[in-house]
């Protein structure tokens, strides 16, 4: 018997440039029969005191050197002011700071007022900020598309910046070809900021979040399945948009079980 959550709560942070959260919720509900709730901006209604505390917390968790193990920093006032400005503006577009992912989750969990993780509730935050985690294989931080846990974090900036573009894109960039020219040359072969395909692509990551919630395992080895753990942009586009099917037979069977066992 699966421990199916009573609802899937969807939050957002920053300007997601057209990401359709309602469509995301409907997709999850169609595939799982679990109801969803769209809460909007995660910072809405926060007191000044909580904004200040969150700003100070975010300013402390910047990964300044991806090659070194993270340590909590003592931020300068301008860094805290920057975070306050970002928190207060639901249309904030600027990103580029890499935050430590696990600490980011803790800050967001505190905002959702969840003292302890509760499996009966599934929270997903869609954000336009970048977070990263430490990789024990190559001993450096990597930006991520998603980080599953309490809550689940899915990043629109992450899906653009984390999976690698085609190799020759980087070779040409290294040779000095301006990035703007390269973006035009490789247009369509990667997900870009504000991409019309963003909602469809991230649906797969939302389902991954649910699988992690239920079983601790969000991934599939089948490159045609939406649960494939893509590392390249071409893999993202294939598994999320162009695969032979949406879900492999194994994961389709699990989704069927979820629908049957769901109380709704």
């Amino acid at each position: 018997m699966l421990n199916i959550p009573g609802s899937i709560d969807l939050y957002q942070e920053g300007d997601l440039r057209g990401l359709n959260i309602d469509a995301m919720g409907r997709y999850l509900a169609e595939n799982t029969h679990i109801p969803f709730r769209v809460h909007g901006d995660i910072y809405e209604g926060l007191s000044e005191e909580r904004i200040k505390a969150a700003a100070e917390a975010f300013a402390r968790i910047k990964v300044k050197d991806p090659g070194r193990r993270f340590a909590l920093g003592e931020p300068l006032q301008a860094e805290v002011d920057y975070e306050k400005k970002r928190i207060r503006d639901p249309h904030w577009r600027i990103f580029g700071i890499l935050y430590e992912g696990i600490h980011y989750q803790k800050i967001i969990l505190d905002l959702i007022d969840q003292a302890e993780p509760d499996l009966r509730l599934c929270f997903i935050l869609f954000t336009n900020q970048l977070f990263g985690t430490w990789d024990r294989d190559d001993l450096r931080y990597h930006a991520r598309v998603s980080l599953y846990g309490f809550p689940h974090l899915i990043s629109t900036a992450g899906v653009v910046e984390a999976p690698a573009k085609p190799k020759d894109f980087y070779l040409k960039k290294q040779m000095g070809v301006p990035v703007d020219f390269l973006m035009k040359e490789y247009e369509g072969r990667f997900i870009d900021h504000g991409d019309s395909r963003m909602t469809d692509v991230l649906k797969g990551y939302a389902i991954q979040a649910l699988f992690f919630h239920l079983s601790g395992d969000p991934f599939c080895e089948d490159p045609d399945c939406r649960l494939f753990n893509s590392h390249w942009q071409e893999e993202v586009l294939h598994s999320q948009l162009d695969g032979r099917y949406e879900f492999c037979a194994r994961h389709e069977a699990i989704l069927k079980m979820i629908r049957e066992q769901s109380h709704f």
Binding site: D65, L76, A78, E79, G96, P178
Partner: protein, 270 residues
């Protein structure tokens, strides 16, 4: 007699003796230097962001001095990347090019290209026309701190003297005072680093190059890093550990403008 009259009729310049030339230089320099020992805004670094700060504050009547360690003013704005003398500016930076009368071309949507020499000389001229004065071949040596560790000026010396080992020379620097100091020294963030040496604040060092995001972050973080110290341009990236920019100058210009706005607001508040 006829030969002497002939010789005088063919001269181009009015006769002036060598000592009169020397007196003119010394007198002009000394008067200006004495006047600018104390200023409202002291900008360390005469690159694009420093020049923008200077031009924007001086045009409002603020007494402004730029200290530049090189003989030439302009920093890296003469040359784009890889010694190619075209400078790029991302939208909306081209609006500043228009304001300064710098011709440019569109490269692709949102990206504009100008001639480095033309852009840089126009920006320097705009700063001069606004009333900015310069102390070039002058290098930053230390900060002047007052109550509460407020930055209130800078200690400077001649660049060539600074380059000599102390065993050969021990020419003391001198202090300049100001209401605000601006660190526009680029990657080196010299003034910020000096405060770090003194344990007054801690910097992060700039991150890896990420042109597309770094410009926005630099402009957003531009402002007062410490009481009395405004940081602009690439020094912002070093101070806050932001991604590093490539050879594009929009953020330098906009960061300079924002730094000027911060100063003018603070001066208004008193």
């Amino acid at each position: 007699m006829e030969d002497r009259h002939m010789a005088e009729r063919t001269k181009i310049f009015t006769p002036v003796s060598e000592k009169e030339v020397t007196r003119a230089i010394v007198d002009g320099f000394a008067r200006q230097f004495i006047e600018y020992v104390e200023s409202d805004v002291l900008i360390i670094g005469g690159g694009p962001s420093g020049l923008m700060v200077g031009r924007d504050v001086a045009s409002k009547g603020v007494k402004t001095l730029i200290v530049e360690r090189n003989n030439y003013i302009g920093g890296g704005f003469w040359i784009g990347g890889y010694l190619m003398n075209k400078v790029t500016v991302r939208e909306p930076g081209q609006k500043i090019l228009e304001e300064l009368g710098i011709p440019y071309e569109k490269a692709v949507k949102g990206l504009y290209v100008a001639d480095g020499p033309h852009a840089c000389s126009k920006l320097i001229a705009a700063a001069c026309d606004a009333g900015v004065k310069f102390a070039n071949m002058t290098i930053f040596d230390d900060v002047v701190l007052r109550e509460g560790n407020r930055v209130s000026g800078a200690v400077v010396n001649w660049t060539p003297v600074h380059a000599l080992p102390r065993e050969i020379t021990c020419v003391d620097p001198i202090a300049l005072e100001s209401k605000f100091v601006v660190d526009s020294t680029g990657h080196d963030a010299c003034v910020v680093k000096k405060l770090e040496e003194r344990g007054v604040l801690k910097t992060a060092g700039f991150g890896a190059m990420w042109v597309e995001q770094s410009e926005d972050l630099v402009v957003e973080h531009t402002g007062e890093a410490h009481p009395g110290l405004i940081v602009t341009g690439m020094a912002v990236a070093t101070t806050y550990g932001l991604p590093r920019m490539g050879p594009t100058f929009g953020a330098m210009l906009l960061s300079g403008r924002k730094g000027a706005q911060v100063i003018l607001e603070k001066m208004k508040k008193g």
